[in-house]
Symmetry: C2
Subunit: 478 residues, 2 copies
Amino acid sequence: MVLANPACDLNGRQPCEHALVDRALNQALHGYEAMLQARFDDVEAVLRGIAELPRGEGFAAQAQELAHARLGCELPEALLQGSWMAGVDMAALYAHGLFAACRRSVAQAPREQADWLAGMAIDDAFIGDCGYHTLDITPCADGRLQGVLPFVFRIAPTSEAVLLKAYAGALFDIEIDMTDWTQRELMQRLNGRQGTRYLKMAVYHYSSSAPSSEGCAAHGSNEDAARDAAAARLNQLRTGIMQAFGVGLGPDVLLLGIDTDLDAIRVHLPGAQGEPLTTLTVEAAQVYRETLGMAVEQASKHIADTIEQAAAGVRSSASVGLKRLIARLLEANLSQIEYVIQHHEGRYERLGHGERFICVGDPIDELQMRNLYYFAHLDTLEEGAACVDVGVHIFEKLNLSRGYPVPVIVHFSYASVIPGARERAVERCERVMRGITARYRGQVPEGALKFGLCVSDATGDERLGLVRECGTGTQAVN
Amino acid sequence: MVLANPACDLNGRQPCEHALVDRALNQALHGYEAMLQARFDDVEAVLRGIAELPRGEGFAAQAQELAHARLGCELPEALLQGSWMAGVDMAALYAHGLFAACRRSVAQAPREQADWLAGMAIDDAFIGDCGYHTLDITPCADGRLQGVLPFVFRIAPTSEAVLLKAYAGALFDIEIDMTDWTQRELMQRLNGRQGTRYLKMAVYHYSSSAPSSEGCAAHGSNEDAARDAAAARLNQLRTGIMQAFGVGLGPDVLLLGIDTDLDAIRVHLPGAQGEPLTTLTVEAAQVYRETLGMAVEQASKHIADTIEQAAAGVRSSASVGLKRLIARLLEANLSQIEYVIQHHEGRYERLGHGERFICVGDPIDELQMRNLYYFAHLDTLEEGAACVDVGVHIFEKLNLSRGYPVPVIVHFSYASVIPGARERAVERCERVMRGITARYRGQVPEGALKFGLCVSDATGDERLGLVRECGTGTQAVN
């Protein structure tokens, strides 16, 4: 039995074409998504082909030719020269191919994302107009949420105002957030800007089709537990800053939920004192249903009215700017709901995990897509181990059970304007890799963890620059 | 052959009594130092006595009586009930006694430090008068530098303006310092204060008696290397902040050296652009010699003139406030030079290491004395392991070689105004302890690491509150 789509009757007479949906943007995003999926699918397809090649004298050359033509990368020559006894290390080649696909996607992002990046509903200018200098967003580390910015929220992932920090169960680190808050607030004052605020958003998730199995693993697939934990963490952060720095300085907070089957969001408006509430306020799927068939202005007004009513219902102190941002998030999400209706038959075929690799460290701004990777934000494994544990557990089922390796990109950002920052980011990559290797020794088969260590320059040009791969037969690529 | 004292001819006719020396303060500090030394010596003495007691039925009661009377602490009852076969675990009792002495010293600090704390030459008011809101001080982690604040510099260790972060070789963490800088600069702006600045001081060290063996281990006991490395780190921090936040915002920097045999300092004035210079500028021992016999005003003027000449010599851009602070540091150090002359025969008997335990994490403001402990500032072992390695290496020679354990206090501060902060500080203690245990497994004999996990409240009353001891037979004391 297929569950009905709560936004639109897919078998009904009315077409699922909402007046507020940006169809051109959806088209561009779909083209991008399909292209990326194909690129990553190709890694496996091409390597399967290589695995079937005769292992005679021409093998290495043929393999390189295939890799070059279809994956746009070189394969490590040493791996292709595997002995007849041990055979060729296909797991190493697979990880190498994935890392190459990532780097290629990031390098080509300016061109490949051009069609949709400028069309994002929410960008720096709009965020500023709503009264915010920073949107600090914590989704769950779960791969199904790694497309939230460009797809679900239609927020430009490269926005200066946006900080993306994923944690298992959306349980962000209070101290790291306070450091970010401090840095951003100081920057505002140094630049003589006043009046804009810091907004912290926590995004929990659930599955409407399989609520007890495909929800958030960190909260035992319990939707209420996931919601309540995220609200509690928001409250801790806000209260902490208010008590440490001053009552008027507490950041605004916004609690959101996502049904990962549909990419439909729900919004919990903050309460009378700005505190996070777990009360359900606005569901985007319901908004879609209610406003389908309306003209643009009427639908927009309905959304604004719905938010006002919800705000009144919880006596919310949400500012005009926050309500405007919420309205824009809801409108943007109508596009994503219709995107899933049009391009994924109303409900993702793959409800559960389908990540291809793990990313730990800082976010890859230029590569964000549902189920492409599991992302654990951390500075050290010592502090972030719980999130990596969840990721490794997912990959035990996804990959190790099939004899596939666990590819891990360790990625840290640095600011090249700070002397020695790149070297320290590289050291951090190495430390975290050593930590991961040591932590899962005995749990993950010897050699099954494959690492790509990468750094990006926050104040310069380097993007996902490869420091080195480890376990893929490639050393010190650049 | 005993090296001559460079400040004063100890065999000469002129008494070593300098007009600028605060003799009452010296007396109070010496009383405190002697009391602390006796308290920590007593731990060993009393436990040796207990070890010699007959192990009959009355043993436990007698041991408790001794500990109570002379150490002011209880011993873990389980340890006193050791089997006749295994004997009593004296190493565990020793570590427990040391930890108890630390807690007692901190608890009694308000009373025991009353005689000298208010007399410190440099306190919050003076720091503010010199134009600084923060003195961020990094000495080496070496135990011989753990008395620098109250003794060598005569800076009140409890000053709000002072941050103390020790690292092996004085090689402080640029990113941690930038975070502290950001937090302090924001606080200034939130409080509407302007015009005061952040001063970073790096303190390297050397030994005039045994330059090639008792200098800084992290720099191969090479004085020039220690100095140059500290200068380079200061330059990185200053340049980093200038480039990331704005040229005018770079912190002031001050490079200092200490001869740990004499506690005599040297000052390297910053250069024309405020950059750290390695040029030698003013030596306190020489200043002592030159001004001995002068009246107060004349001596003070001589110091000021010496600083002005040195500043002119390197075209220093040091502000009036910085020069005033340097003058006060030099004057204060004259007292310490004379302190070592009067109470330690002009040169410490123990030139090398004599630490009794290792402290990792945040500083113990209320307990600072030369060679009492090795202190490695860190947030995670992952980032701070290099400093702990040096500490463990020192204790291999000091303690493990004699069959003594390695007592480690893991201490983190939290702000109780931030919800959940204490729980997170406790978790951090546990994580760091687990990390240390894992890192030195195989290198340090099983069970030889003894831990005391403690937390202090930066915004409330708890000071070195015991979370639990580990390896001392005591679990969950409070």
